[in-house]
Each structure stands twice: as structure tokens, then as C-alpha cells.
């Protein structure tokens, strides 16, 4: 994953959302719309099943696979009604229902029914969950939201990193990682400027450029994951505190 290319924030605001495209009768169009949804949600779903449902890794993996396969075959996501909840919340309730009926779903999968989705790296996902302390149980909607944003940001950051590395700007990205994400307390622009032999203004300029790239990526990915354009606006406001068109 992480190799998907988006065209930046050049989409006109009237562009159909993924959820609108997934309703297409054209199988190819529908498949194309389903891809970003899988990419944007499989990891939060897996983490949610591990943490909230306390499924062991194997079972959580199967449950994620069977959920996505069933959602595709039975057109679950097409039933989403924007008037009732956010898409993320709707999806989470579908996952809950699926987990409850898990016994049967698992059997169907064993019979070889349903298409497993290839290319989902569950080993890494599991490693990531182990790496961090599982915190106090929070509200389930909040838990799913937290995992979802974590994944959204992680993917966007990885895209930005690749963008910089492949265009010979790894140093700029490293500066950003160190100043904005690093553990060093009290690191000043002047310290960094002296260390790198550039001016303070260059330091702040480079930081600003990477931050901007990250924001653009994250907004693009966010848009892909929202049910409607209005939902996208609300999420952008809540996550970044900004107004988008």
C-alpha cells in the first residue's frame, strides 16, 4: 500500500464522493471506488477488532477480510444514509454486527466462500498495535475514530516522505520529522539553522513546505474516506480546525 497516486487538491468540489461512485452499476467503476475504501479503513477495522472485540490476531485478520469481502458482495456500504450518521460511524456499526455474527462468517470463509482481499499487510498492522500501550477503553466510536485518524495520518505522512525521498529532498523531510515530530524539547529554529548551516528563515520555510504537503495529502485522503462532501467539511474542521470549500 501507500503507492496510490492522487492528483493533489485539484478536484472540483462537485466531484462525486467515493460513496457516490460505489453505488455505480458499472462493476469496474464500483471496483475502483471500493479500493480507496479498503485502503482507508482496513487497518482501523483490524485495530478495532483487536482492541474493542479483543479478537486474537488470527481471528481479527479473518474477520477484517471477511467483513470487507461481505461488504463488497452484499453491497453493505451502499446502504449508508448520510442523514443518519457519519460514514465512519455507519461502517463501525457494520463491523460490530459482523463481529457479532462472526461464528457463521468464519465458517463461510473456511468453506472457501467470498473473496479475500489481497495485499493487506496484517503482520505490520499487528506489530503496530503491539508497539503502543493499549489505553483505557474509550467510547467505541471514539476508539474507531482514533484508529482511523491514526491510519489516515500515518499513510499521508508516508506518502509525503516518499514524495520527498524520491525527489531528492530527504533532508527537508528529516528536518520536519525532527522539529515537528521529534522528542527533543526546546529545540529552536536558531539551533537547527546553526546545525544545518542555513538561515532561520530557510528553516521555517522548509518546515512550512513539508507541513503544507502533509496537509494537502491528508485532506485528499480524508476526502476519499468521507461519505459526503458535507461530512468532509465537518471532518476537516474537527481534525485540522480549517474550513475547506
Amino acid at each position: 500500500m501507500g503507492s496510490r497516486t492522487t492528483t493533489g487538491s485539484t478536484f472540483p468540489p462537485t466531484r462525486l464522493t467515493v460513496l457516490e461512485r460505489i453505488r455505480s452499476e458499472e462493476p469496474d467503476e464500483r471496483r475502483r471506488a471500493f479500493g480507496p475504501l479498503v485502503e482507508g479503513y482496513w487497518k482501523p477495522i483490524y485495530a478495532y477488532l483487536r482492541i474493542r472485540w479483543r479478537l486474537p490476531p488470527e481471528e481479527a485478520r479473518d474477520a477484517t477480510q471477511s467483513f470487507l469481502a461481505a461488504a463488497w458482495e452484499k453491497r453493505w456500504l451502499e446502504r449508508y444514509d448520510p442523514g443518519r450518521a457519519r460514514f465512519r460511524t455507519f461502517l463501525r456499526t457494520c463491523v460490530d454486527r459482523h463481529a457479532m455474527n462472526l461464528g457463521q462468517a468464519a465458517k463461510r470463509l473456511k468453506r472457501g466462500g467470498g473473496a479475500a482481499i489481497v495485499g493487506l499487510d496484517f503482520e505490520t498492522a499487528e506489530g503496530e498495535i503491539r508497539e503502543r500501550p493499549i489505553q483505557d477503553p474509550v467510547d467505541q466510536d471514539e476508539l474507531f475514530r482514533r484508529e482511523w485518524i491514526r491510519d489516515l495520518f500515518s499513510r499521508s505522512l508516508e506518502e509525503v516522505r516518499l514524495e520527498h525521498v524520491t525527489t531528492g529532498q530527504a533532508g527537508r523531510f528529516a528536518l520536519f520529522e525532527r522539529y515537528d515530530l521529534g522528542p527533543e524539547e526546546g529545540l529552536s529554529y536558531a539551533d537547527l539553522a546553526a546545525e544545518l548551516g542555513i538561515t532561520v528563515s530557510q528553516v521555517t520555510g522548509r518546515l512550512a513546505a513539508v507541513r503544507r504537503a502533509f496537509r494537502a495529502r491528508a485532506l485528499d485522503n480524508l476526502r476519499e474516506a468521507c461519505g459526503t462532501h458535507d461530512e468532509y467539511r465537518v471532518e476537516a474542521r474537527e481534525i485540522f480546525g480549517i474550513e475547506v470549500a
Binding site: E128, R132, F153, L157, T204, R212
Partner: protein, 318 residues
């Protein structure tokens, strides 16, 4: 790729939206405030070696009305030179397309904090009178703020009172989008809430000043409905009747029944604070006497003491 920690996620959400000041003479320090449409940052003016506040619209060049708002605001601030209005130093467009302006950094608290805090009635009314005086100055120039509320007034460390956030101000000659509702429930005059922001005159600001008065003296949020807001204030029996009358006049549902502008309200507040009769409340003979006795309580006390002494002396020597 590793998954980010909660702290990193929070930090990323924060920094993703920081303005790019790299092509300017300012160095970004930290965010100090945020409203509905903009964020305000503490920054350092490297040329003059001092700290300033920079307000940046919170969308990256995507919403033209936001940028127009910033331009209006900078222009209004520039036009209004007054001790109650924060001075603007600079304005422009950032490399990322967002509009910004630079102003004096106020070291102090929001009126909202004062309302929640321990300040006495007298201090609260002093601040309110300052706000009214500042607004009188703006009204005299045909400028209506349209979003007065405790979040948009700052009280500095030396007791100075500053009206901020002039982004939706009505400027003489400018036209508004019809139907746009600008303002905040509870502080917004009914004619403004009804979507007739174009009708929002000086008297709409007076309504907001009445709502601020009510917040300051009752420590509760003003109800959105003018009738309810007015009744709630009038029911506060432990407050002086003339003060309640001032608030009630400002909170009148019909603009015609309010003070014509902030200057009239400032004058009435000054009268109240000096212990004089107020325009909002015609007094009976008894009230007037009571108020005079209260205003001259020290002198009255002396006279009474003298009389008592005379009586006692007369009785002893009698």
C-alpha cells in the same frame, strides 16, 4: 511505515495548519487563539525585535469570503485609531495563499475570563463602559461590529480594554451577501438572527452590549430570545434597578426601543456609576431620595452623627 503515537497525531494536526511566514519579517512562535474563521499566532517581528500577534484565515486560499473578511478587518482596524482598538501594523497574503494581518499583541485575558472570574461589579462595569465608549467611536464613523461578545473583547495587563475581531463589521458603502447570518446566538440582535444582517445597525451592537452586560453581572449566558433575556435580567433583584433598566433597554426586541448607539449607552452607564439618574429608568421621588442618600452616604452619615450628638449633648446638659 510505522503507526503514529497519539501524541504525534495530535502534534501533526496542530502543525499541518501552521501558517508559512518564511517569506516575511516574522517568525512564528505559537498559536494563542482561535475563533470560527481564523487563528491568531504569537510571532516575532525580526526587524523591530518585538512580539506581535498575527491573524491568519484558517483556510488555505480556498474560501474567498474568508480572505475578504481578513481584508475588511485589517481595513477597519486601520481606519479606527483609538485606545480601545488594537492597532494594525501590516497585512498581506502568505506564500500558501492565506490572508493575514499583523497587530499589536495584547498581553491579557478575554472578557470571557473576566466574566467567569472574581472581578467585582464596579470593575466589570468599568470594562463595559470602556467597550461602549470604543463602540461609540466606531458608530460615529458608521462602522458596526456585528459580532460583539465576551470572546471578542480583551482586557490587557494594565486594565486597558480592547475590542477585537472586526471581520464581519459593516463598513459604510459595502454590501453584504443577502441572507448571510453573521453573529453569535445570545449576543446577536433578533433582526440579525432573522438573517437580515444587512439591517444590523448600531442598534444591533447595542443589543450585543446589553447581552454582554447581562453576562457580566449575572455570570450566566444570555438566552437567545430577547424577551427571555430581558426578563431574566430584570428578575435579578439583588442588582440595582437602574442597572437592570440599562440592560433591559439595550436588550429591547425592537431596535427602536434600544439606545440609538453605543455612545448613549456609555453615557447612561457613566451616570449609573456616578450615582446619577439614568435615561433608561425614570425615577419616582422616593427612589431619587434613596439614591441620593446612597450616593452621599458618607456626608449623610456625618450629618446624622452630628444631629445625634447634638441631641445627646442637649439631653446631658439639659
Amino acid at each position: 511505515m510505522t503507526a503514529l503515537s497519539d501524541a504525534s497525531v495530535r502534534r501533526l494536526a496542530e502543525v499541518a495548519n501552521l501558517p508559512d511566514l518564511s517569506e516575511t519579517r516574522y517568525t512564528l512562535l505559537e498559536e494563542i487563539g482561535r475563533g470560527g474563521m481564523a487563528a491568531v499566532y504569537r510571532a516575532r517581528d525580526e526587524t523591530l525585535g518585538r512580539e506581535v500577534a498575527i491573524k491568519v484565515s484558517s483556510a488555505p486560499g480556498e474560501r474567498e469570503d474568508l480572505d475578504a473578511r481578513m481584508r475588511t478587518e485589517a481595513a477597519v482596524l486601520a481606519a479606527l485609531e483609538h485606545p480601545g482598538i488594537v492597532p494594525v501594523h501590516d497585512a498581506g497574503i502568505l506564500p500558501d495563499g492565506r490572508a493575514f494581518y499583523v497587530m499589536k499583541r495584547v498581553r491579557g485575558t478575554l472578557l470571557r475570563e473576566v466574566a467567569r472570574g472574581a472581578a467585582g461589579l464596579d470593575e466589570r462595569l468599568r470594562i463595559l463602559e470602556r467597550v461602549c465608549e470604543t463602540m461609540a467611536f466606531a458608530h460615529a464613523r458608521g462602522i458596526v461590529h456585528r459580532d460583539l461578545k465576551p470572546e471578542n473583547v480583551m482586557v490587557g495587563g494594565f486594565g486597558e480594554v480592547l475590542v477585537i475581531d472586526w471581520g464581519v463589521a459593516r463598513v459604510p458603502g459595502a454590501v453584504d451577501e443577502p441572507g448571510a447570518v453573521l453573529g453569535t446566538p445570545g449576543y446577536m440582535a433578533p433582526e440579525q438572527a432573522a438573517g437580515r444582517s444587512g439591517d444590523a445597525t448600531e442598534r444591533a451592537d447595542v443589543y450585543a452590549l446589553g447581552a454582554i452586560l447581562s453576562t457580566l453581572v449575572t455570570a450566566t449566558e444570555p438566552p437567545a430570545d430577547p424577551g427571555v433575556a430581558r426578563a431574566a435580567l430584570l428578575a435579578e433583584r439583588e442588582l440595582p434597578r437602574r442597572l437592570r433598566a440599562i440592560g433591559a433597554k439595550a436588550l429591547a426586541a425592537d431596535p427602536i426601543d434600544r439606545y440609538a448607539d453605543a455612545g448613549e449607552m456609555a453615557a447612561d452607564l457613566a451616570r449609573f456609576r456616578a450615582g446619577n439618574p439614568v435615561a433608561a429608568h425614570p425615577e419616582s421621588w422616593l427612589e431619587r431620595t434613596g439614591r441620593s442618600v446612597w450616593a452621599y452616604r458618607a456626608a449623610v452619615g456625618l450629618v446624622l452623627a452630628y444631629l445625634v450628638m447634638r441631641i445627646v449633648v442637649a439631653w446631658v446638659t439639659g
